[in-house]
């Protein structure tokens, strides 16, 4: 049976269509999830896509975390549901305290769109098991508030626990601490990424096909043995 992967649409979500396309290209079935319905429709994994949910008003992700669908996601994540937040989705996961740290305004104060290289730091999570640690992949960064920040204790602990998922490897584009581009929960099922793997699934429309590995990884993770 094909895995069913939910993609949440909040008001102001923008890369939801792209995330669904990536899911499909990886061989899974994308399932649309609507922000104000407290149902996950029985999906095997969930993606929170990029965009400007609720206009990023108040603070990126601060309003989205209270959407009815988020209650279900927090609950399911606590029992192992794989969840990936991309860009705005990463911000929402931090606001929802499913991931440590926070995303602040880029160091240069401008929105940055750039093809970048990131280095995979953890190849055991639900979303990265098809990569190997140390592997460099080419993806797209496009964000205005992408600087990863956490207090020193949190940074030390996520480093010690292997919770740094990926680091910027072609220069630090936004002032993220320790070049952190993505983090993962202690249990390894909830991941947040500031760059966009869903925009690197086809050389026609992106810098590479390297991003497909995130979606293929979760297929492997949710496969019934």
């Amino acid at each position: 049976m094909t895995a069913r992967i939910g993609v949440v649409t909040f008001p102001g979500s923008l890369d939801d269509r792209d995330a669904r396309r990536a899911v499909q290209r990886a061989g899974a079935q994308p399932v649309e999830l609507w922000h104000d319905q407290a149902s996950l429709r029985g999906v095997d994994a969930v993606i929170l896509p990029g965009g400007f949910s609720y206009g990023d008003y108040l603070r990126c992700g601060a309003i989205a975390r209270f959407a009815p669908v988020m209650g279900q996601i927090v609950e399911a994540a606590s029992v192992g549901l794989p969840v990936l937040g991309i860009c705005n989705g990463f911000q929402i996961l931090c606001e929802a305290h499913l991931l440590p740290g926070a995303l602040a305004r880029n160091a240069g104060l401008h929105f940055v769109t750039r093809d970048i290289t990131i280095r995979i730091e953890n190849d055991t999570s639900a979303w990265t098991r098809q990569y190997r640690t140390g592997q460099d992949i080419r993806v797209v960064l496009k964000s205005g508030e992408g600087a990863y920040m956490a207090d020193p204790q949190t940074l030390a602990s996520i480093e010690a626990n292997g919770q740094v998922l990926a680091r910027y490897a072609s220069g630090n584009p936004n002032g993220s601490q320790r070049d952190i581009a993505g983090v993962v929960s202690e249990a390894g099922n909830v991941a947040g990424l500031m760059p966009h793997p869903e925009h690197a699934i086809d050389e026609l429309t992106g810098p590479s096909e390297d991003g497909l590995g995130f979606f293929a990884s979760v297929l492997q993770a949710v496969a019934i043995p």
Binding site: L14, V112, K142, L204
Partner: protein, 761 residues
């Protein structure tokens, strides 16, 4: 003559002035001049109505008859676009609609349009530019299309001028903020600098949308009894009189502060909701007619919908949801609050309509209904405040035949030929001039700007900056796509507005062609000084005539456009700057060709004929501060042959890179191709290397031929009648002009990058 008199904010009275009052007090003085109307225009309104207008009616006429909305100075000339239109079967909707709609095959249609937001962007760069994007996106949405991409054509004063440091980052930030939040990829545009734009930058925004043929929507209120629904943001006091006061008068200098409240404030989040909401409403078949609210707000939407439907309309202004309860009827009519649309809906479908709006959290209110009276009637506090024939405001505005006179100074300009300028001869001099161009703000890397724009969202962007054209995939199965480019060159147009405008068209046409697309249709944004200056009017008439003639010859119709007058500071107009956008259809975007050299060992072929043409060139301007003589000659048959050759070569897979030659000539094109593809080249120059490198002869392209395909390609060139010369080979990590000079790509890249990056933080 400038319009300093308009510099004050318009005195709009919130007090009630009913139709009955207008009849009872025929002699009451009204502030028509402050609203931008002449005494003759005011008298004409009274003639139409058979009485003086009410304050609310005066508000409607003042904005609808403004230059910005009525095209009163340009209309007479713009007719040529229809009169000279080539026979075509690709146009599904043309001039006069919110945007032209073009059949691109396989049941798909594309709608696109470019519009100016120059004056607001000078007063308040961030919001002015942001709302410029918002406005053009709603125009596209109103045609029934999903907006799929934006582009922007920008012109500023000298890059190192202090005020450019205020205006440019604000404009770019505003476009970035609004477009990125909307989820529309920004796929290209232009950025140019000249002192003439120092007090009047140009901010032209283009949007393109895709629809199925059957989804086409028109702005017509048909079916008496149908309901009029206003939806989107609430109406506030922002932008009141923007069309009449800001967009239709020159900046006088002292009055700038008073215009500040005329700029609107944008909320892209609401616009994103509005887009999704509209598309769902269209899908559900709930919309009879639709119009966006842009310049002139409710006044424009109601008059145009009623006039478009040949009907009447009854509207209760009390029903308009307000952000500021103190607004009166005239202000409600003139408000340019953003993110609003007006739809005509059958009564039995209103509930379903409101349900979809509620799903998207979009406020929606029934404010009136369509009638068969042929009158636009509006009430306020139960009293009638408007009763006019809608067509008199929407379509029957004054039309002026402004005097146009070629200025005597034009002869001096042409006489100042660049033939006397000393050309670089030695290797080091040629090298220095290449780096001068490449390191200038005009020739430099635009990444400081374009990195602030999301070009990836929606996942269908095949080419974007720094390529010559933006290329979008429309259908993933078949590979059908569209290419878009905008071009304009104020220096060429200053020297000869007729030829300069044709060169802008030719360049955009060529930019679309280098991707392998077939040019199909044209839009334009005509940026000029005051139409009351006969010299400006001459430039304008020449530009329009040039564009209409060239479109006729190339067989591609003008589908719509925008005129922006009064771009001047005091009495000094900007260089005439028509910006021309060309849309092309690409049969299979998987075969697209970009501008970068990324293959080693490919033959480099220069297509087209190079003559010593330096008039208006970037080299003459940057090296010698010279602007004079004649612009490069136009040869539209050569452009057509070149475009057709490129389409064939791309379809046959003969070429791996193609880059248009324009300002900066071959020198800049080679450097850009090396940098964007990351591969160097060795080129063998002829004896006159300066002309070879820096001339700006039109109808030229440099291509890299797929290794092994050179013979086939040269045969194809001969068959197409396109002059072709093998000038070198790609490879290595230097740009080398054999026997003259060599520049390592690292050095090129640094000069290119530093051009803007060192000026803006």
């Amino acid at each position: 003559m400038s319009h300093d008199v308009f510099a004050a904010a318009p005195p709009v009275s919130a007090a009630q002035d009913t139709v009955a009052d207008a009849v009872a007090t025929p002699g009451r003085e009204q502030p028509f001049a402050a609203l931008g109307l002449t005494a003759e225009e005011y008298a004409r309104i009274a003639g139409i109505l058979g009485r003086r207008p009410t304050d609310a009616e005066l508000a409607i006429y003042s904005v609808m008859w403004s230059e910005h909305c009525s095209y009163k100075s340009s209309r007479k000339h713009l007719r040529q676009f229809a009169e000279k239109a080539p026979a075509t079967n690709v146009l599904l909707a043309g001039i006069g609609q919110n945007a032209g709609v073009v059949d691109v095959g396989q049941g798909y249609a594309v709608t696109f349009k470019i519009e100016s937001h120059n004056h607001p962007s000078y007063v308040e760069p961030f919001q002015g530019a942001a709302t410029g994007v918002g406005g053009i996106v709603r125009d596209i949405l109103a045609m029934g299309a999903r907006p799929v991409a934006v582009m922007d054509a920008l012109r500023f004063g000298p890059a190192d001028a202090a005020d450019t440091g205020r205006v440019l980052p604000g404009v770019v930030g505003g476009i970035s903020f609004y477009g990125n939040c909307l989820g529309l990829p920004n796929i290209g545009g232009e950025l140019a600098f000249d002192p003439c734009y120092a007090g009047n930058p140009l901010v032209n925004a283009l949007c393109v949308g895709v629809l199925r043929h059957s989804d086409l929507k028109l702005a017509a209120a048909t079916g008496p009894g149908n309901q009029v629904i206003l939806f989107g943001s609430r109406t506030g006091p922002d932008g009141i009189g923007g069309a009449s006061v800001l967009a239709s008068a020159s900046f006088g200098g002292a009055g700038e502060g008073a215009k500040r409240p005329s700029v609107q404030v944008g909320d892209p989040f609401m616009e994103k909701l509005l887009i999704e909401c509209c598309l769902e409403l269209y899908q559900a078949g709930l919309v009879v007619g639709i119009q966006d609210l842009g310049a002139a707000g409710v006044a424009c939407a109601t008059t145009e919908l009623a006039a478009g439907g040949g009907t009447g309309m009854r509207v209760s202004l009390d029903s308009v949801p307000l952000r500021d309860a103190s607004l009166g009827p005239a202000e409600i009519l003139m408000s340019e609050s953003q993110e609003r649309m007006m739809a005509i809906v059958e009564p039995e479908r209103v509930a379903a309509f409101l349900d979809i709006c509620a799903k998207w959290d979009v406020p929606a209110t029934v404010i009136g209904e369509v009638t068969d009276t042929g009158r636009l009637e509006m009430t306020w506090h139960k009293e009638q405040v408007v009763d006019i024939p809608p067509g008199s405001a929407a379509d029957a505005g004054p039309v002026y035949d402004r005097p146009a006179r070629r200025p005597a100074s034009q002869d001096e300009l042409i006489a100042a030929s660049p033939a006397l300028l000393p050309l670089p001869r030695s290797g080091p001099d040629l090298r220095a001039d290449l780096l001068l161009l490449l390191g200038s703000p005009d020739g430099g890397d635009k990444a400081w700007v374009t990195e602030q724009y999301d070009r990836y969202v929606r996942g269908d962007t095949v080419l974007a900056m720094p390529h010559d054209a933006g290329l979008l995939r429309i259908d993933a199965e078949t590979g059908l796509g569209v290419a878009l480019a905008t071009d304009g060159n104020g220096r060429y147009c200053q020297l000869d507005p007729y030829v300069g405008t044709q060169l802008a068209l030719a360049e955009a046409y060529r930019n679309v062609a280098v991707t392998g697309a077939r040019p199909l249709a044209v839009t334009n944004c005509l940026n000029f000084g005051s139409p009351e200056d006969p010299a400006v009017m001459w430039q304008f008439t020449e530009a329009v005539r040039g564009l209409a003639d060239a479109c006729q010859q190339l067989g591609i119709p003008v589908t719509g456009g925008n005129v922006s007058f009064y771009n001047q500071t005091g009495g000094t107009p900007i260089q005439p700057t028509p910006v021309v956008g060309v849309l092309g259809v690409h049969d299979d975007v998987r075969r697209r060709v970009g501008s970068g050299f990324s293959t080693e060992g490919a033959s480099i072929v220069l297509l087209g004929e190079t003559r010593a043409e330096f008039g208006g060139s970037l080299w003459a301007w940057l090296r010698h501060g010279h602007l004079g003589g004649r612009p490069p000659a136009v040869d539209l048959e050569a452009e057509r042959a070149l475009a057709s050759l490129l389409a064939t070569a791309v379809a046959r897979g003969l070429i791996v890179a193609a880059h248009d030659l324009s300002d900066g000539g071959l020198a800049l094109a080679l450097a850009e191709s090396c940098l964007s593809g990351g591969t160097g080249c060795v080129v063998r120059p002829p004896a006159d290397a300066a002309t070879f490198l820096f001339s700006e002869s039109a109808a030229r392209t440099v291509v890299a031929v797929r290794p092994g395909a050179a013979e086939d390609f040269l045969v194809a060139c001969e068959q197409a009648g396109v002059p072709a010369e093998v000038i070198g080979t790609t490879g290595g990590s230097d740009l080398e002009l054999a026997g003259l000079f060599s520049v390592p790509l690292d050095e090129l890249a640094e000069a290119h990058r530093a051009a803007l990056a060192t000026l803006f933080a």
